[in-house]
């Protein structure tokens, strides 16, 4: 089957039960997408499927034929950080960094749906992504800052 990841086509042969997370990490070596729970509880594997956030551990690769998949590796364009990435750096919205790719993709998806979120919107919209280091206050600030920068158009 053909998988479109970060704009590039990959022809892969996968068993029907393989998750998108497994395909990305083990076959395509796109290890920016993290495995932490493997059952849709933490958000570390969040990617975009056709522009909307999805837990890659709960998506079957076989269901992704012809769909546009964006991983953290495809967020920066031509060496330039996406406004959400830049805001995470500027606000120090990360510590160990393990949940960060998922947080950033969740934030991008949130801002596409709601370009001008309130703080409450951000807290609700990002609540599917756990951060055990507790970078949450700065994640809120980063997402709001990215919204001000017009990240939705990024």
């Amino acid at each position: 089957m053909r998988l479109i990841v970060n704009g590039a086509a990959h022809d892969v042969t996968v068993p029907g039960h393989e998750t998108l997370l497994g395909t990305l990490r083990e076959r395509l070596q796109l290890t920016g997408t993290k495995l932490a729970c493997g059952r849709g509880e933490c958000g570390a594997c969040t990617v975009l499927v056709d522009g909307a956030s999805a837990y890659a551990c709960l998506v079957l690769t076989a269901a992704c034929e012809g769909r546009e998949i964006t991983t953290i590796e495809g967020v920066a364009r031509d060496g330039e950080l996406h406004p959400v990435q830049a805001a995470f750096v500027a606000e120090d919205a990360l510590q160990c960094g393990y949940c960060t790719p998922g947080q950033i993709l969740a934030a991008i998806s949130l801002l596409r749906q709601n370009p001008n979120p309130t703080e409450a919107d951000v807290r609700r919209g990002m609540s599917g992504n756990l951060c055990r280091c507790g970078a949450y206050p700065k994640i809120v600030r980063a997402v709001l800052a990215a919204a001000r920068e017009g990240a939705a158009n990024g």
């Binding site: 990490r25 083990e26 070596q29 796109l30 290890t31 920016g32 997408t33 993290k34 495995l35 932490a36 729970c37 493997g38 059952r39 509880e41 933490c42 570390a44 991983t71 953290i72 590796e73 967020v75 920066a76 950080l81 990435q85 995470f88 750096v89 500027a90 120090d92 990360l94 510590q95 160990c96 960094g97 393990y98 949940c99 960060t100 790719p101 950033i104 951000v122 807290r123 609700r124 990002m126 609540s127 992504n129 756990l130 951060c131 055990r132 280091c133 507790g134 970078a135 949450y136 206050p137 700065k138 994640i139 809120v140």
Partner: protein, 762 residues
């Protein structure tokens, strides 16, 4: 000639040890509050943030080597028993399975004194073998093919069960570890209680909490050319190296441990784990690289926990609030292994009181072993002590903050010596001001459904660090600078902070500095990143190394600028001669030197004698309690910290917020639940074990008071990662008690614990 090797005392997580230290080549003048610093103290963006936001940061589970195999651990689902048959052959016969290891392959390899893959089962989900295959999926499937029989045997889950006559033995030498019960005494507590005008006795309970790092424990091992290379998600590369060398009888020089990025540790990743030994044993057996990473259930059930406690507290005081006696009788079920990180210590240290007596009974029980968890012992103890202190304040009709001030411990009470610095009083004042404590306390009590309350707690923790720690600073031919030290950055910001110290000394732009950490083969020794010690231990070593390098650099530059080194000043990567106003970029000096490499070596000197190094904090919380549902909502937390000099305020505040949020989880939701009869973990997922989400987090105002602690070390910095968790649960519980007007004896503050009425009605 002066002695080169001396001894000094270093405290890590409440344990003070005497260690040998090699005196550094120099002892720089401490950076005091008047020191002019240009890079230290600045809000430099986290230097590895770029790799982390682009997905380029490669964590242990991301390491993929050619020919790498994938291992999975076979676990026993019951808490007690004996493995009477273990036949791996059916698994090995499966297509794609490449090998397996079990007890015979790891004889005499132990973790915390317990044989790896032992045939005695001491807790549910204990690992007894590992199978590896071409893919993780095949390895997991192969586990089902293993023929295994376990004869169940009785188990014990509580200290009471473990110490009852005739109790089944979790460990062959008995269920009480050496030195348990542990008794620590000063003065005469009975006399103190007789002297008291008021006494109270209360019992407090804290839950077993799980670290729940998002990156599970794991390792990738590669046995090749007689060298064992292990990528490990660890807080201690050198400790892991020595454990591997011991286990496989290899010289230290033939074991290399690498930790570049790790997805959280919080104390649970201090050395080699089952996954490490499994990956290494399999790689050595098969000659291929092997990855073994725990799945989430393994991480939540067999990768460490903060043990539960029961604390029976008696306090005695005069009418004016002066404490006359503090007494604690505590019990701590450690799990099948562990160390005595108990709640008792903080009872001795937090307040001035002449009579303190603590008894802590630690016992081995049939649950997974405990591990250090952010401020181990103090976090549990602070809940009991600070909750009891509020009950005493209520009894005395005294403001809880005033009661604490009246019992201020100006010196280290238990060791009877001075603190290198203590600004807890300033923490009280500043936090109370920013919180609006006086106004909040004088507000009339709510009587409706939603009731507000306020509470606070005090914090003491070590974090002074100490030797040994080494660093090398290299200046390359293009002027780029490397700080090399075998420490770890857990997400704390160590990479950035150490680069700032080097840049400060060298007068270089911090962007010219790269900190290289986490590789035993390339880097000089630094200790585990535990006990909040990395900055205070390694920072001074980096400063000394950078000074050595700077002196060489300025000497070279002096020749090029026709002046003396003492005439030179370096700033923003440019060297300036004061006498003749000539300038040269560091880069240009280095280019002229070519491959003459400037190398500075530094080490951490001894700690000051007869002095206790500690960090302090005061934490305040405001809550709302719904008296119909028992739901607690934390509205805000104000937290003031004395951690000496802050090298990078932004990263330091991130640490404070993170610690406070973990404390919030401990206070409100986090609790490992074992079936009381069967001993089986009932919530081994991130759905059922509740860690805080972004929606749970209140307004947090966390900040630092005071300045450099120049007695502690010459950078003036002390630890700050652990203090912020310690007082959060008692501050929140005290606020809930304030809102309700009755005691709150147990965390987490789930509705049935908050409202006794809910408890009786179910």
């Amino acid at each position: 000639m002066a002695k080169r090797f001396v001894t000094t005392k270093v405290e890590v997580e409440g344990r003070e040890e005497t260690t040998v230290v090699e005196l550094p080549s120099r002892e720089p003048t401490p950076w005091d509050d008047d020191a002019t610093l240009h890079v230290v103290g600045q809000r430099i963006p986290r230097m590895d943030a770029l790799e982390k936001v682009t997905g380029e940061a490669r964590f242990t589970a991301d390491v993929q080597l050619p020919g790498m195999l994938h291992a999975a651990l076979l676990r026993v689902p019951i808490p007690g028993g004996r493995v009477v048959r273990l036949d791996l052959a059916p698994a090995l016969a499966l297509n794609g399975v490449r090998g397996a290891v079990s007890l015979d392959d790891v004889r005499d390899i132990t973790i915390d004194g317990v044989q790896v893959f032992d045939h005695t089962v001491r807790h549910a989900n204990q690992a007894i073998a590992a199978v590896c295959a071409d893919s993780l999926e095949v390895a997991r499937r192969a586990l089902n093919a293993v023929a295994c029989e376990v004869l169940p045997e009785p188990h014990v889950l509580t200290v009471a069960q473990a110490t009852a006559p005739g109790a089944p033995l979790v460990r062959p030498r008995g269920n009480l570890p050496r030195n348990s019960p542990r008794t620590m005494t000063r003065g005469d507590v009975d006399a103190g209680l007789r002297d008291a005008d008021v006494t109270i006795t209360r019992e407090y309970r804290t839950p077993a909490a799980l670290h729940s790092a998002l990156e599970p424990h794991g390792a990738v091992a590669d046995w090749s050319g007689g060298v064992l290379t292990v990528w490990e998600s660890t807080q201690g590369i050198f400790l892991t190296r020595s454990e591997l060398a011991d286990a496989f009888d290899l010289p230290l020089s033939k074991v290399r441990v690498i930790k570049n990025y790790m997805g959280g540790g919080f104390g649970a990743k201090n050395g080699a784990s089952h996954a490490t030994f499994a990956a290494a044993a399999l790689s050595m057996k098969l000659g291929r690289p092997v990855r073994c990473v725990l799945d989430r259930e393994g991480e939540q059930t067999d990768a460490g926990n903060r043990p539960a406690t029961i604390q029976r507290v008696t306090l005695g005081a005069k009418r004016n609030g002066t404490l006359t006696a503090i007494k604690l009788d505590a019990s701590v079920p450690l799990g099948a292994a562990g160390w005595l990180g108990g709640p008792g210590r903080i009872y001795h240290d937090l307040y001035a009181c002449p009579n303190v007596h603590t008894v802590e009974t630690f016992a081995y029980v049939s649950s997974s072993p405990m591990a250090s968890f952010r401020a181990p012992g103090h976090t549990e103890g602070a809940f009991g002590l600070e909750r009891a202190l509020d009950e005493l304040a209520r009894e005395l009709a005294m403001d809880p903050l005033e009661l604490r001030r009246r019992n201020y411990a100006a010196n280290d009470q238990s060791k009877r010596r001075q603190y290198s610095g203590k600004r807890l009083d300033e923490c009280y004042t500043r936090a109370a001001e920013r919180f609006g404590w006086a106004a909040a306390r004088s507000r009339p009590r709510d009587t409706g459904r939603i009731r507000r309350g306020v509470g606070m707690a005090s914090v003491v923790w070590g974090g002074g660090g100490g030797p040994p720690a080494y660093a090398t600073v290299r200046i390359n031919g293009d002027g780029s600078i490397e700080v090399l030290t075998g420490a770890q950055d857990l997400g704390t910001g160590a990479r950035t902070v150490l680069a700032q110290i080097a840049a400060e000394v060298l007068g270089a732009k911090v962007s010219e500095v790269r900190t290289v950490l986490g590789d035993t083969e390339r880097l000089p020794y630094a200790s585990n990143s535990w006990g909040s010690i990395t900055t205070a231990s390694v920072g001074p070593a980096v400063r000394v190394a950078a000074e050595e390098a700077r002196d060489a650099l300025l000497e070279a530059a002096a020749g090029m600028l026709d002046t003396q080194p003492s005439d030179l000043e370096s700033r923003d990567s440019e060297i300036h001669a004061k006498s003749n106003d000539r300038c040269m970029l560091i880069r240009d000096v280095c280019e002229k030197l070519g491959n003459v490499m400037i190398i500075g070596q530094g080490s951490r000197g001894p700690n000051p004698e007869n002095t206790t190094l500690a960090a302090f904090a005061a934490q305040f919380a405001e809550v709302e309690v719904d008296v119909e549902t028992g739901r607690v909502r934390v509205l805000r937390i104000v937290s003031a910290h004395d951690s000496g000099r802050i090298i990078n305020p932004t990263l330091a505040e991130s640490q404070l917020e993170g610690g406070i949020i973990q404390g919030l989880g401990y206070a409100l939701f986090e609790e490992r639940v074992l079936d009381a009869r069967l001993g089986l973990p009932l919530n081994p997922t991130l759905h059922d074990y509740k860690v805080p989400t972004i929606a749970d987090v209140p307004a947090i105002d966390a900040f630092f008071v005071g300045g450099a602690d120049t007695v502690a070390n010459h950078t003036g910095a002390k630890g700050l990662a652990e203090p912020p968790i310690i007082g959060v649960a008692p501050a929140i519980a005290n606020a809930v008690a304030d809102a309700l007007g009755h005691d709150v004896p147990e965390i987490p503050l789930t509705p049935w614990r908050v409202l006794p009425a809910l408890r009786t009605t179910g």
